[in-house]
Symmetry: C2
Subunit: 299 residues, 2 copies
């Protein structure tokens, strides 16, 4: 069934201890859509500037991503720069040029409004809600967020949480949002704020899902050579939501399998800059690593 | 089958952000033996001073721990003091009075030398090896260690690693021992140093086991109220080795179940000071939480 993502298309400038990339294809919706495209044909809503290369849109389209919701606006595409410390856990944002994303007003095409599965990639929660409200056919909507919005737009974020079925966030964000150090208690508190499910990501330590009587935890896939962690969270979300859209169900078994699928997808993402590794991976690669992860965590 | 532990009996003075205990029963071998005693009758080798209360030995004996290898020496029992920061991850050692443990020379009673399963709790690796060599019947020996020995007794530790079947260590110790940041690579490097298995503990993030073609990872049990983390590692080891001794096997399924058993055991330990919570738990409590953990991590 159809999966819609609303988020950014961007050019990322990334520096690690080993290598760097200048203005590589990035953005939350790009990572998400490429990740989800191994399971379904995701629909993408976003905005790009006049500098966005047509070949990048063509590449997404060739992967089965429906880009008819990508608006081209006057100005430059959202650009972001980051630098990672050798431990990978510390990331410094070197610049954030919102450009055309600054006035992003999501317009969901009429043909997309029946999407049952929706992912609201990281954006101001008021923008996320504005996008979501146009999707009249939504059955299962999941949002991402970040510390910036928890800090400066908490009220709007809390309002959004009353309208989504799931929230994906990392350990630091969960602690910041709830004021609780214990991640399990923090996840429970997020559920009290509205969503039926919370997915709490812990980077190299894996992730867990809580909600509706289900509690499922799993380790990260043991990647031995990280190249660039950028996009790992969005790839996780894309793999997770793609598996759900493909199954057209959110029963507990599907959610568990979707967690594995998301974990495996993210593991490919971090093995390359941009979508250099992830974009090469087909269903067979995913399945092989899925089985490997399953064997690692099955008693 | 018989399980032998060589380690410390101690009095711990622990302070947390919420409460404190003065000279409470502690020590690696105590935590280990109490944890293992739900699965088997562990044999204990250690030393206490003349201040060690007979009632504490009686308590261990009443749990099925064979204390005939506990030597009483002139002087005071090993005493340790620690203080935890509110985040639990930072521990300050306030004092370490080795006392009678300073000249600990492990003497394994003749009746214990046939023990097939052996745990060498944290001690100077030369002492650990001296103890191990007396256990002529050992089939599966696992050692613990700490950053101090990695720092000041690396050669002896490396020698010990050539004589044990498994090493249990935490993330920080693994990085320190191998010089590798990536925990999976660090675990692989530990295996190259001798043991057939390595168990890498990551505190609230769970643990994984690697070796002999097996890779098994699992999350920590989600404890929502930590009282005192002291002894968590030794309780894990006690639960792990106890399950192995009970099964009298180290096949892969047993090792996986032992990892769950260790995880669950440690989760009780941290819910109280000393053995206040762990010591109350019987096989039923363990089984219930074991099934809960199994459901959390089974796809």
């Amino acid at each position: 069934m159809s999966l819609l993502v609303i988020g950014t298309l961007a050019y990322d400038t990334v520096e690690t201890a080993h290598a760097s990339r200048d203005r590589a294809l990035g953005g939350s919706a790009v990572y998400f859509a490429v990740a989800a495209a191994t399971s379904c044909q995701p629909r993408l809503v976003g905005v790009v500037g006049d500098d966005f290369q047509q070949e990048h849109l063509d590449d997404l389209t060739s992967r089965g991503v429906d880009c008819s919701g990508v608006e081209r606006a006057e100005g430059k595409t959202f650009a972001w720069g980051g630098r990672y410390e050798p431990d990978w856990n510390t990331r410094h944002t070197t610049f954030t040029d919102l450009n055309v994303f600054e006035h992003f007003d999501p317009k969901v095409p009429e043909s997309f409004t029946d999407s049952p599965f929706v992912f609201l990639a990281n954006a101001h929660p008021a923008i996320q809600l504005k996008g979501l409200k146009q999707v009249t056919g939504k059955r299962f909507a999941v949002a991402d967020t970040m510390n910036l919005w928890i800090d400066i737009a908490r009220d709007e974020l809390v309002e959004l949480l009353g309208h989504v079925d799931g929230l994906i966030l990392n350990d630091e964000e969960a602690r910041m949002l709830t004021g609780l150090d214990n991640l399990h208690l923090a996840a429970e508190k997020v559920l009290e704020m509205g969503p039926r499910y919370v997915i709490l990501k812990k980077g190299e330590h894996g992730a867990f899902l809580l909600g509706e009587g289900l509690h499922f935890a799993l380790p990260a896939f043991p990647v031995t050579e990280v190249v660039d962690p950028t996009g790992a969270g969005d790839s996780f979300a894309g793999g997770f939501m793609g598996a759900i859209a493909q199954a057209d169900s959110i029963d507990h078994d599907v959610l568990k399998r979707a967690m594995l699928h998301g974990t495996v997808t993210a593991s490919f993402c971090v093995q390359g800059f941009s979508i250099e590794d992830l974009g090469q991976r087909g269903a067979d690669d995913l399945q092989a690593r899925y089985e490997q992860l399953r064997s690692i965590c099955t008693v």
